[in-house]
């Protein structure tokens, strides 16, 4: 399991609303729409009440502020503009939530 698989697995273990809230908190619109999701491309479908058909995917982008291509996690939801979070920030936010959930479960 590489770092991206690990992040997607952490996201999958959290409620979809929480993952969507992370994008709402940290996400930024992309200057250009990412290419359509390719066959076999890693992604995580999100399903929750009040959340239109949505998917989290990883896009390697070279934006105006990227020297080289960097990984961005992108939330694509029907009828909404895609939101992107820089890979390390998304991984850090998920790690913080996962850790807190683990500690809370251990206390029970």
């Amino acid at each position: 399991m590489d770092a991206i698989d690990e992040v997607l697995a952490q996201a999958q273990a959290l409620p979809a609303e929480v993952v969507a809230a992370l994008f709402a908190r940290y996400g930024k619109p992309l200057a250009e729409a990412p290419p359509p999701l390719g066959d076999g491309e890693r992604h995580l479908p999100l399903a929750a009440d009040g959340l239109a058909a949505a998917v989290v995917r990883v896009v390697n982008l070279r934006t105006a502020v990227d020297v080289i291509g960097n990984d961005w996690f992108v939330l694509e939801a029907a009828g909404a503009e895609p939101l992107a979070v820089a890979g390390p920030l998304f991984a850090a936010a998920l790690a913080a939530l996962t850790r807190a959930a683990r500690l809370a479960a251990a206390r029970k």
Binding site: V67, G87, A93, R99
Partner: protein, 289 residues
């Protein structure tokens, strides 16, 4: 013999396993925009001076981020292994916030780090939010990385220590050539900076500024500036200038300087002074941020 054996045994281990992780993180000086300078400069060319001032401000922003991480990692970690280290939770004196820094090797050539904060008056681990996160790739011959700062979170945690609320998005490459891209602010007020440095010391710096670039010093203009320089310090700046004395239609300003940073040529498209043949770079090249 016993000493030799101990040295041999310890050749592959470290008493402080976090050192290798910390070494993968960027140091402040590695990401500096290095504009040539000399103590005996007379009256420097205007675009050279604007470039110096901007580089100093930008280096200060980078320093404030990397010093924060550097200060924390200069202390022994709370937990450490070969693949991860953690500092904190700790509460700086007088601070209303508690922080922790987590550094983790996520691939043989990749180290991720994040600085999380929460109000100190809660012990709820779920209250930690990352406000600085980055990745550093330290593979042979390809050192690069990126980091993001969400100053809004840092401000909410400790407004006195973190008065700004914008953000910092940085991407850099240290090898084979050095390049830094920075975005300060958010949304419509974001400003981009691009810096490329060759091993010989020559540089290329693109940035936006709001300062006096024409006419009356009390009238400030918006400038989109590209400055290039040789290892000798001789260089050239080209700027699209709008507003202030340049008016709504604006003007294109070019200026060249010698190794003492004194102006040797200037033109605003209408008027010109000096010798264009003196320019270290003969052709105007404007920023494309």
């Amino acid at each position: 013999m016993r000493t030799a054996l101990l040295l041999l045994v310890c050749a592959g281990c470290s008493a402080t396993p976090e050192r290798a992780l910390v070494a993968a993180l960027p140091a402040r000086s590695q990401l500096h925009v290095e504009v040539p300078a000399t103590a005996d400069a007379g009256t420097p060319a205007m675009l050279y001076e604007v470039t110096r001032q901007t580089s100093t401000q930008l280096n200060g922003v980078v320093d404030s981020v990397l010093d924060l991480v550097g200060d924390i990692t200069s202390h022994p970690p709370t937990n450490a292994s070969a693949d991860g280290a953690e500092w904190g939770p700790f509460t700086p004196p007088l601070s209303p916030a508690t922080y922790r820094l987590i550094v983790r090797r996520v691939a043989p050539d990749s180290v991720q780090y994040h600085l999380d904060g929460r109000p100190k008056d809660t012990s709820d681990d779920a209250a930690f939010q990352p406000f600085l996160a980055g990745v550093s790739k330290d593979g042979a011959g390809a050192r690069a990385g990126q980091f993001t700062v969400d100053a809004g979170i840092a401000h909410a945690l400790d407004p006195a220590a973190n008065p700004g609320t914008g953000g910092v998005q940085a991407s850099y490459q240290l090898e084979p050539a050095m390049a830094v891209r920075l975005q300060l602010g958010d949304g419509a007020v974001a400003a981009n900076y691009r810096y490329d440095q060759l091993p010989d010391g020559s540089g290329d710096f693109r940035f936006a500024t709001h300062t006096n670039l024409a006419g009356d010093a009390t009238q400030l203009e918006d400038g989109l500036v590209r400055t290039r320089w040789l290892p000798s310090g001789a260089g050239r700046g080209d700027a699209h200038v709008r507003g202030g004395d340049a008016g709504a239609t604006g003007m294109d300003l070019s200026e060249c300087w010698d190794t003492t940073f004194s102006r040797t040529f200037v033109t605003d498209g209408t008027n010109a002074g000096g010798d264009p043949a003196s320019c270290a770079f003969p052709d105007a090249v404007f920023a494309d941020l």
